[in-house]
Amino acid sequence: MIWPIDLAILTLVVVAAIGALMVKDLLGASVLFGSYSFMMCLLWSIMGAVDVAFTEASVGAGVSTVFFVAAVFRTTRRTRD
């Protein structure tokens, strides 16, 4: 584990999580959640869990984002918080 990269990616993970919850647009929230999942994928590969990393990249960052975008297009983009 290379710890400077680990610290940087962990900080980016928290920033992406707060951004996904703070943005006032559901499509933006789903895209930021996809970037959060991708940061998590980088984190798993830094920590040596390569199998978890590629599962997260395909299932977490791929399928979850598609689900969120499909659900937002079937409902509404507007949100109050």
Partner: protein, 131 residues
């Protein structure tokens, strides 16, 4: 002071895991929009996965793929040199279960939107009480 800094840096993964868990719990409780609540639930799940993967990390360990595999079966394997793969295998299942719960939650949110024409929780509650 340097003692404190080294303590914080050495357990940075665990601090961030607690932070992410609290962010997810906050979103599930406080946020008014149903999709934001589902995002919070997913952040909570990945925080738990982060905790379990952080348990398996070893200082100076390599990834859990065996060296000297084919043709050198008499080579001695040192298990200390490899990162512990057991939490990884458990968390693979957790990621797949997380996507399944996400799909069910979003399907329920779409059904609620079709019935009440809103995703905000207080408006849904007002319509339910008004009937």
């Amino acid at each position: 002071m340097t003692d404190l800094i080294s303590t914080v840096v050495a357990k940075y993964n665990y601090w961030i895991y607690i932070t992410l868990m609290m962010i997810g719990l906050y979103a599930m409780i406080v946020k008014n929009n149903l999709v934001k609540k589902i995002v919070g639930m997913n952040i909570f799940q990945t925080a738990i996965i982060l905790f379990y993967v952080s348990i398996g990390v070893k200082k100076g360990g390599t990834i859990p793929i065996i060296e000297h595999g084919h043709g050198q079966e008499n080579h001695v394997v040192h298990a200390v040199d490899y990162i512990n793969p057991l939490p990884h295998v458990l968390m693979l299942t957790a990621i797949v279960v997380g996507v399944a719960t996400l799909g069910v939650a979003l399907a329920l949110a779409i059904k609620i939107y079709n019935n009440y024409n809103t995703l905000e929780e207080d408006e849904i509650l007002a319509q339910v009480r008004g009937k």
